[in-house]
Subunit: 122 residues, 2 copies
């Protein structure tokens, strides 16, 4: 098996669906994912784990109950475990996520935006 | 306490020392660090954990015993636990690292390049 370099832009060029994170790498029991988002997600919480967002394209707002966090390319934010949040973006945003294996994108909220596990880009 | 956005370039503008990772964020029991490197590091292994490198400036070669991995801006690589590696860069490289809390930069090798823990940018 070779040693795979993950080129983030190339991985993002392989899909266009929104709110559907794709696994591109693993770090111990964490997964590195890329995702495209636009519009508003659902308010949800991950009770068991922090979640890292790193924006590579566009401007992402992460709504929190006590204020908004705005992320532009080259900026990252860690949503602490147990903190309710809701991403929203006017334009299309491309981001890198780092999450514990098994995390569901909609957390405790569920619903139609719950994405299937997708490691087809791995 | 506010919700801190980490601007990677701004964090990197605050220091110039080489091979001395600075903690800029935390994700559960992991630390997000920025580092500047140039020249050759030491061959070493982290027996207990994988290690993520994401290059944001310059070109980084991670030498492995069975071949080199070359990373350019926007590219990442996870060195698997137990795999001996030695970063090397002709020019200055700026990178983001994600590592388990407590990881020593020189792993099992030790020596003069072993960096003190630095969370002054947190």
């Amino acid at each position: 098996m070779g040693h795979e370099v993950v080129d983030i832009a190339t991985k993002l060029s392989h899909f266009s669906d929104l709110w559907s994170p794709k696994v591109v790498g693993r770090l111990n029991d964490y997964e590195i994912k890329v995702v495209k988002v636009q519009g508003e997600f659902v308010w949800h919480t991950h009770e068991e784990t922090d979640e890292l967002f790193l924006v590579v394209h566009g401007e992402l707002t992460i709504q929190l109950r006590d204020g908004d966090v705005v992320l532009r390319p080259g900026q990252l934010f860690v949503v602490p475990r147990g903190v309710e949040h809701c991403p929203i973006a006017d334009g299309e945003v491309h981001a890198l996520l780092i999450e514990l294996v098994g995390v569901i994108n909609t957390g405790n909220a569920g619903g139609e935006l719950t994405a299937a596990y997708d490691d087809s880009l791995l």
